[in-house]
């Protein structure tokens, strides 16, 4: 009896490991197949434009809102801390550097993941459970090329652009709080921003955003593409897409930061 329980326990661990390895393998093949389909014709511009609109334009409002208040809050907190050292003039540069390098790409990635990534997972999951993806196969249309590639490209293109706007709006928020509300010297505020932030900081942030865009769209597509179990399965796929892409974005952020800025 005890031996039976031990055996079933070991089997459970083994099955879980095999399932995990299978998932990683399937995801890797999914990624590889998507990348291979990117340069191959036919190019579906209309589908791509639609995906760009969904990922980019659709996320614009929440990105701007998040960006403004992120900059404003960091300015408020930074000023309180710097005031202890009589160094409030460093608020602008600190917030600008944080936004350009970390906050803008990561928060944009998380926001777009919450909105567009989940949407993609739901859309593709619904197509899967209603056998629309299978129908594409029967019509000799590769669903990876038709469904995944445009969304993947939309993420890679649009998330950096949204990040750029996040940077700008975040600095506006920081300026509004720092200069207008807390009366930090405007000239010193801007001078410190100009001195401490380099174009390379902004470009590295945008490079991160490219990676995050790819991650969130691919995870959304993957979870939706392999969704099973009807409406409940679609819901689970959506939740998993947001959770997994958020975790992957934060992990990738650490790795990219270590590579770029150290």
């Amino acid at each position: 009896m005890v031996l039976e329980k031990i055996r079933s326990g070991v089997e459970g661990v083994g099955a879980l490991t095999i399932k995990g390895v299978e998932s990683v393998g399937r995801a890797s093949l999914f990624l590889l197949e998507t990348l291979l389909w990117v340069p191959r014709p036919p190019y579906r511009l209309r589908v791509l434009l639609s995906a760009l609109e969904f990922v980019g334009v659709g996320s614009l409002f929440i990105v701007i809102l998040t960006g403004f208040f992120t900059g404003a809050v960091f300015a408020l907190q930074g000023a309180t801390a710097f005031k202890l050292f009589n160094a409030e003039s460093l608020v602008g540069s600190t917030v600008a550097l944080s936004l350009a390098r970390e906050l803008a790409p990561v928060l944009t990635g998380l926001m777009v993941s919450g909105r567009a990534g989940s949407g993609i997972a739901t859309e593709l999951g619904t197509m899967r459970v209603t056998e629309q993806i299978d129908a594409l196969y029967t019509m000799a249309v590769n669903p990876i090329q038709y469904l995944v590639v445009p969304r993947f490209l939309a993420g890679v293109i649009m998330v950096p652009l949204l990040t750029s706007l996040f940077n700008l709006v975040g600095m506006v928020g920081c300026y509004a709080v720092g200069v207008r509300l807390l009366h930090i010297d405007e000239g010193v505020f801007l001078e410190k921003v100009r001195w401490f932030v380099e174009p390379a900081d902004i470009y590295n942030g945008l490079l991160k955003a490219c990676v995050f865009g790819g991650i969130l769209t691919l995870v959304g597509c993957y979870k939706g593409f392999y969704a099973t179990g009807g409406a409940r399965g679609v819901g689970l796929a959506t939740t998993e897409a947001v959770v997994v892409s958020s975790v992957l974005i934060l992990t990738a952020d650490y790795i990219l930061t270590a590579l770029m800025f150290t």
Partner: protein
């Protein structure tokens, strides 16, 4: 309607985001390291606390450079600077504290005398500012002295007789002051007389200076008369010398003749000079054109500037020559490469590669041989598979970004993209190429890892055509890569052919 709006909305977002990116990039600091007219120099400091990479270097509060890197040199810190102005041998640099938080910056005096400091040269005069710890040390020393003084005072005043001693000192001071007062009041008439005498002496001196001024005018008038007489005497001497034909007079006349001859030649020379200057003024001749023709002068100026820029770019250009060979396992063939890298910047280069490669496409030829022996004809049909060598060209542009290098261009006669990853101080390199994009098969992906055991020698191994299983192949090889300064010198000094 929605289909029409989609491109519009996407385009609008792209324009807005791109504009914000461009605006922010121009607003933040222009990277000093991206400018071309920069001076690089270093200075050795005993203490670089408060300094960091990208700390400012200022002159009179104006930023003229930044710290590039800080490294340990023995027991000192070697601080490398990038500056926007040239330095001279007497340049000085000093570490100054920017705030009480410990942040510091470097104050530069660029120097005004001596030869210029070359690129990568040392700023030898380094001044040190007192750091807070130094100040605390000084204050501690002063406090010790103050303690000793107060202790001595305490010993003197706080003893049993201290109060009596203090009263005694005050009584002595009172006595001295009283004596001084008495001495002054007793000698008051004498002091009055001394003051009267001083006034009388100064009156005498004033009268003397007035008389002297009057006499000086007379002396000057006499001097004028004397000089007039001297002029007359010299005229007489000239007349006598010209009339006297004997003795010393002859030699004087000879000297005068030579002087006149010299004066005449000088006149001729001046005349020629005047003629040349007149031609130059009128714009005649090459020199006149150069001086008077503004357009020509500007052209010459532009030409000199362009030449300077061209030579600067050419001398900065690095040439790297490489030769390598690879053996493909499945095909059992060898492939040879000759590579020339032109590197205008450390993070940018152009690659020209000539490849001697056995063709990947083989052709099968059927050969029919008929022989007749003893009236009997026999035919032999042979199938010969041939693989021809082909000569391929690669031409790529590469841009390095930290440890990643992206390449784009032509690879082995086909459009290609490439991505290289370098590690271990560039000794290990993983090179991936994606090329031969065709509709009926996957693109050709080749991955190669190279490791340089020595400075110029490396071994390589890799896998070719990963995405197409039927033609996938493994290869190993090695090569040689080195900087060729001679090639650079040849290109820099070679004459440009004209047709």
């Amino acid at each position: 309607m929605n289909a029409l709006f989609t491109p519009f909305k996407v385009g609008l977002l792209m324009i807005a985001a791109s504009s914000s990116l461009v605006w922010m990039s121009t607003q933040v600091r222009e990277g000093i390291s991206e400018r071309e007219d920069l001076t690089s120099a270093f200075a050795l400091f005993n203490d670089v606390g408060g300094l960091a990479v990208r700390s400012k270097v200022v002159i009179a509060g104006i930023t003229v450079g930044q710290i590039d890197r800080i490294e340990l040199a023995g027991d000192q810190a070697k601080v490398w600077l990038t500056l926007t102005l040239p330095l001279r041998a007497d340049a000085r640099i000093a570490k100054r504290q920017a705030s009480l938080l410990g942040e510091s910056f470097l104050q530069l005096t660029p120097g005004y005398q001596g030869p210029p400091i070359p690129q990568g040269g040392e700023i030898k005069r380094v001044d040190y500012d007192a750091s807070p710890s130094d100040l605390m040390e000084e204050v501690r020393g002063i406090m010790v002295n103050v303690n000793e003084i107060t202790l001595s005072l305490k010993n003197v005043l706080a003893g049993e007789n201290g109060e009596q001693r203090l009263v005694g000192i005050l009584e002595n001071i009172n006595r001295v002051v009283e004596q001084m007062s008495q001495a002054l009041s007793g000698n008051s008439p004498k002091l009055d007389r001394v003051v009267d005498n001083v006034i009388a002496v100064t009156d005498e001196a004033r009268r003397f200076t007035v008389d002297f001024r009057r006499k000086a005018d007379l002396i000057l008038a006499d001097a004028q008369r004397v000089s007039e007489n001297a002029r007359l005497i010299s005229a007489d001497v000239r007349a006598i010398v010209s009339q006297d034909g004997a003795g010393g007079g002859a030699s004087v006349q000879g000297a005068m003749a030579r002087l006149q001859d010299s004066m005449r030649r000088l006149d001729d020379t001046l005349e020629h000079t005047r003629s040349i200057a007149q031609k130059v003024d009128e714009g005649q001749g090459s020199l006149g054109q150069l001086v008077n023709n503004d357009r020509l002068a500007r052209s010459v100026g532009n030409f000199v500037d362009e030449s300077s820029r061209f030579i600067s770019r050419l001398t900065r250009l690095q040439f790297q020559v490489g030769m390598s060979s690879e053996y493909y396992m499945s095909q059992a063939v060898a492939k040879s490469y000759f590579e020339l890298r032109m590197m205008p910047k450390p993070d940018k280069y152009y690659v020209l590669q000539l490849v001697d490669s056995p063709s990947r496409k083989t052709s099968v030829v059927e050969r029919l041989t008929t022989t007749t022996r003893g009236g009997v004809s026999s035919a032999v049909r042979e199938q010969v598979q041939t693989t021809e060598d082909s000569f391929l060209v690669s031409l790529q542009f590469a841009k390095r970004f930290h440890f990643l290098t992206g390449r784009v261009g032509l690879l082995e006669n086909s459009g290609a993209l490439g991505l290289d990853v370098t590690a271990l101080g560039d000794r290990l390199q993983v090179v991936t190429d994606l090329f031969e994009f065709e509709a009926d098969r996957n693109p050709r992906l080749r991955a190669r890892a190279t490791y340089a055991f020595f400075a110029h020698l490396y071994v390589a191994a890799g896998i070719d055509d990963v995405l197409n299983r039927s033609s996938m192949d493994y290869f190993v090889g090695g090569g040689l890569r080195f900087n060729d300064d001679d090639l650079q010198a040849i290109l820099a000094t070679a004459p440009i052919p004209s047709f």
